[in-house]
Symmetry: C2
Subunit: 346 residues, 2 copies
């Protein structure tokens, strides 16, 4: 195990001052009028012996860590795993690393995570938070820390944010079902005040209202285990045999829903038409393929990183907040399209 080289060793070997080495390494040679020849000599030797400055010392001194704190609901959820992968790649390209934590939508846990990120001096935050942390996030924004909310925002907090227009997403999806003559379309959502869920519900409500149809909303309590969730769904479908269409507001509800409908032996779309928010392999390859409201993952990741980088590099003076709402895309597949034949036969 070779001994760790220090900046002091470099300076001594080259017979220059520590300051010179440090300035060259930090690209301030020109500014400080250090000759090109000397700068080159330093760079060459540093390269030769493979000297790497101690990042901890550097961070302690400069206050910058080049680490971004990413908070997601659950890294194992395909939506968050995908966005995390895209964000990671883009952040790395700009010299930032990602430290992530899953919240499980637990407020207490999330509060700890935020405190922990702060203690570790992350340079910026990318956050998909549970409802109820308005105070903490306001304080964070006020402190001037670069921060981007995504997926969902906090109702009373003005901050940078990248979200999808969920209302339009479910509105168009619901309209698509109603246009085919369905009169009882349910919305399966979670019981929670998260803004993205509220928006998705609102689009559904509006579509039904325009058709003068009653709402049929089932709110899943998500603190339960999977089996309990599915029992709740199953009970709902059994209680509403005339419900011939259902919109799931998020990917995992959709997955549970498909399993429940399968258990009940309901045919899709003949017995019940199905649409889910979020696209993934499962929905695409399911039999029948599931119609989805897809989020523009790549573009969202791009916007999140751009926004954060702008905040990281921008002056603290002007604090401009940007809220970006991106358009989702309704991807029509067989699960929501009543075959002409089937419709006639009814």
């Amino acid at each position: 195990m070779k001994k760790k080289i220090l900046i002091h060793d470099i300076a001594k070997h080259l017979d220059v001052s520590i300051a010179t080495v440090s300035l060259v390494l930090n690209g301030k040679a020109k500014e400080k009028r250090i000759s090109d020849g000397l700068a080159e000599k330093v760079l060459k030797y540093v390269e030769e012996v493979g000297y790497k400055p101690n990042q901890l010392a550097k961070s302690l001194r400069t206050g910058k860590t080049h680490v971004i704190g990413l908070v997601v609901e659950d890294i194992a959820n395909p939506f968050f795993a995908t966005i995390a992968g895209l964000i990671e790649r883009k952040a790395l390209a700009h010299g930032y690393r990602i430290i992530y934590c899953s919240t499980s939508n637990d407020i207490v846990k999330t509060r700890d995570i935020l405190a922990m990120f702060q203690e570790r001096h992350v340079d910026g935050y990318i956050l998909a938070l549970p409802d109820g942390l308005e105070g903490e996030v306001s304080a964070l924004v006020r402190s001037g820390k670069p921060l981007v909310l995504f997926d969902r925002v906090l109702a009373s907090v003005l901050a940078n944010a990248v979200v999808v227009d969920g209302a339009t997403g479910t509105y168009e999806a619901t309209q698509h079902l109603l246009a085919q003559g369905l009169t009882s379309v349910a919305l399966m959502t979670i019981r929670d005040g998260q803004t993205q869920m509220l928006a998705r519900r609102q689009g559904y409500t509006q579509a039904l209202r325009e058709h003068n149809l009653p709402e049929l909303v089932e709110e899943i309590v998500f603190q339960q285990n999977p089996e309990q969730v599915m029992e709740q769904m199953q009970a709902f479908f059994q209680a509403h045999p005339n419900c011939h269409g259902v919109m799931f507001t998020t990917n995992y509800l959709g997955v549970y829903g498909l399993e429940v409908l399968k258990r009940l032996g309901r045919r899709i779309p003949e017995d019940i038409a199905v649409i889910s928010f979020d696209d993934n392999d499962l929905f695409r390859l399911y039999t029948p393929p599931i119609t989805v409201v897809a989020q523009p993952m790549e573009a969202m990741a791009e916007e999140i990183i751009s926004m954060l980088l702008a905040a990281l590099n921008g002056s603290k003076e002007t604090s401009r907040m940007t809220q970006l709402q991106m358009a989702p895309q309704l991807v029509l597949r067989q699960s929501s399209t009543l075959p002409a034949a089937a419709t006639v036969r009814r």
Copy 2:
């Protein structure tokens, strides 16, 4: 924005020495014979003003960061996303955070990641590496850094590792197909020297050998884009119309494979029986449900963390390496079970 409180402020306010505050905070009050009363007073005031030691300074001084570097192939891959979520939860419970990076199986990128983790002084490593970094990992092991390899190991490197017995997994899966009378079973794998892939291939080979049947292995080149991968698979299936069973060695190959078979209009399992390594929602809910060789995710995560914690807390003197090979589970579903009727009809 309130000014940051320092240990110095605490000491001054309580009129005690900085050393006393620090020792109490680090649980060395007893050891240093600090009175219970004083220790309590310190703790109480620290709590009251919400003092949090600067972790960077602490890390610089102690050399410990309480951060674990997690290297996966791709955080968006369900296998890695799931294990990452489980590892995160368990690590957090022991006071460690996770910083992750995806390698995309790119050796150069991975080398950078390892260097970056080292620069950031992670306390330990959890690694699923591409082939070809034997030198780097050997050096890491020699340096005494706590480290656990998982999913795959490096042939020539002796290190802690948690892997699944892939050979037995594919052996049993292949036997299951052959036992039903299939005579042409293909293995779809990736062209790569990763040890887990080699093991999975070996189990297949052994099963076929025992039945005196010829191998039929297709190696996918994975640097291609999805469409190219599927074209290669499609060409394979078209070239081998008599192949009535296929084993995919990993989840994403299985997903692509299902899509290709669907495009070709091949019925599962009537035209071709299918088994994939790795379980997930898609395989479970597919029509028909896909038989899989499932890895014990929860138990693996548990073992990985235990092993790393043992190394983190253990003495540097005795360097004991543990290689753990866990049993996968063959989960039989309809995709691999030729219906009696169908078999007869053939």
